[in-house]
Amino acid sequence: MYARREYCINCHLCEVYCVAAHSKSRDVWKAFKREGLRGTHRLRVEERRPESLPVHCRHCDEPQCVQGCISGAMVKDPETGIVYCHEDKCVGCWTCVASCPYGAVRPGYRNGRPVALKCDLCRDLLEPACVAHCPNRALVYEGGTT
C-alpha cells in the first residue's frame, strides 16, 4: 500500500473509515458517536499545505516495533507479512511508537486501556478501508508481502 502525494486532498476520510473499520459496528456514525473511537485511526494524514499525505505502516521486513515489543503483542504474520498488534496483549509501553522509523504507530486508548494503534491492512477485509474509501485514489493497495 502506498500513497500518491499528488492526489491526496487532505480530506482525512481515510482516517474516518479506518476508525469505522476497526470498530465493533463497522459503522462510521456508531464508531464515532456510540463506541467513542474518535481519534483511534491507525494512519494519519500529515499536512503542510498545499500538500498532505497519509502516513501509514510499511509492514517492514524487519519491523523494529516487533523487535522492541516487550509483551509480544506486536507480531508480523509470517504468511501475509502484515505487522499488527494484539491489542489485548499490549501494555502501552510505547516502545513501538518510539522505535518506528516512519512514525506509523500511534499511542492511543481503546476500551479504556492504552493500546498501540497501527495499521493491520484491514486483515479481515478484501481491501483496506482507507484505500476503498479514498475519494481521489490517492491510496493504492497492491497486496504483496511488503
Binding site: E6, Y7, C8, I9, N10, C11, H12, L13, E15, V16, Y17, V28, W29, F32, K33, R38, R49, P50, E51, H133, P135, N136, R137, A138
Partner: protein, 502 residues
Amino acid sequence: MSAIRMNPPEFRVVRDEEKCIKCLVCVRQCGFEAQQYDPEEDRVYSLDENCVACQRCVCLCPTRALRIERNPVPYKLNAHWTPEHIHNINKQAATGGVLLTGMGNDKPYPAYFDRLLLNASQVTNPSIDPLREPMELRTYLGSRPDYLGGEKDRYFGPTPLVPIETPIMFTAISYGAISHQAFEALARAAKAYGTLFNTGEGGLPEDLYEYADHAIVQVASGRFGVHSEYLNAARVIEIKIGQGAKPGIGGHLPGEKITASIAATRMIPEGTDALSPAPHHDIYSIEDLRQLILTLKEATRYTKPVSVKIAAVHNVAAIASGIARAGADIIAIDGFRGGTGAAPLMIRDHVGIPIELAIAAVDQRLREEGIRNRVSLVAAGGFRSSADVVKAIALGADAVYIGTAALVALGCHLCQKCYTGKCSWGIATQDPYKTRRLNPEIGAERLYNLLHGWSHEIKEMLGGMGINSIESLRGNRLHLRGVGLTEAELKLLGVKHAGEGM
C-alpha cells in the same frame, strides 16, 4: 468602518448535529471558507454568506449530515423587482464594478431542444437494434470538394478530413481557465474515445503533447501559446472569433492565476494578466479572416483543417457564409447557453441567440448557397444530453462541442463561481491545494463513460428512426417535430409541427 451587508446570504448550510461526527472534512474541503471549526468550543459551524452551493461538503460528508438550502428572502413579492435585481444593485452600489459570473446563461429563455421531438419507425419502415446491427457514429470533419476532383478548382489546397468516433467533442476550455488536471482529463478521454478536445486559447502544455493528435488548437485574439510546433502538432486549428457566453467580449485571465506553468504555456511573463482583445486586431473583414486561415494553412503545409469559431449572433447565417467562402473547413457556432470561466453577467445573460435557431439558419443558408459541402458545422452551447445532440445534428450540425456537460462529469455543480478561482472541485482554480482534488485518471474515466453513455443513447435513437449512420441524420429535419412553437419559430427551424405527417 464596516458597511452594512445589504444582501442576505443566498444559501444556508444545514448541519444535522445528530449525524455530524465532526470529522471536519467539510471544513477542509470548502473552497469559500463557509465551513468553520472552532477548536476551543469543539464546534463545527457555517458562515452562510460565504456558501456558493457548490456541494463539495455535501458530497464528501461521510455521514450525509449536510444539506445546502436556498435561503428564503422574505422581500415583499414583486414580479418586476426580483431579489436577483436587488442583490445585483447592492453589489454594484458597494463596488462600482461590472458584475461577473461564470458558466452559461441561466435565465429562463426558451430551450428549443425541449420543444423538439424525434421520430421513430413503426410498421412501414423497420427500426434497427444497435446491439445487433452495425451502427455508424463515426463522422468526418472538414471540407468536401464541390464535385469529384473539384478541390483543384479552389484557390487553396485541400486539407484532410478528420474522423471522430462519436459526434461529440470537448469544447475549448483553456489551461488557465481550468487546472492542468482538468485539462489533462479532457485530453486523455478524447484520445481514449477517438474524439477531439480543444485547447482553448491558452496553448497546449508541454507535457500534454502526447495528446496533440486529438487536439483542436485555438488561435485566439491574444495569440497565447501559438507557435509553429503547436500548430503542427494539432489535428485541427481553430481561430476563435467569439464565444457564446460573451459574444463581442475579450478575455481576462488575472495575473494571480498565471502560474509558472501557465506562463510558459501561454508564452507570457509569470504573474501578468493575460488579456485577450475583443476582436483580432488583424481581422476586420472576411478578407482579413481569409488571410489568417491561409496563413495557418501555409504554416502547416495544408495538413490541418482550419475551424473558425463564432458566437451565435443575429446575423450568424451571413457571417457563416462568409467564413465558408474565406476558406474555413469547419465552422463552430457557440450558442447563448455556452459556458465561460468569467464573463460580465449582463453580457452572458443578454447577448446572443439560441444555438438551435443558429444551426438551422446556418445550415439552411449554406445549403441554399450550395456551399454546405465546403464546411463541417459544429454546434456548441448548452448540450445537456444525447437527445440535445441528436436534435442538433438533425437540425444540420455535423458534430457538437460539449463543455459544461464535460465539467459536470468532472465534478462541477454549476455554482457559477469560476471567475473567483476558488473552485472547490479543483476544476476552475490554480490553487495547488485544490487542483489536486481532480485526479486526471478518475476524470478521464468519467468523461469516457459520459461519451460512451451518450453515444450508446444516440445509437438507440438513430436505430429507432431506422437510420444506421449519424451522417444520414445530418440536416434530416423530417425527423424532427416541434411542439408549442409559433409559425415563425417552425419556419426558422425548418421543422413541421407535431401531428403533421411527412
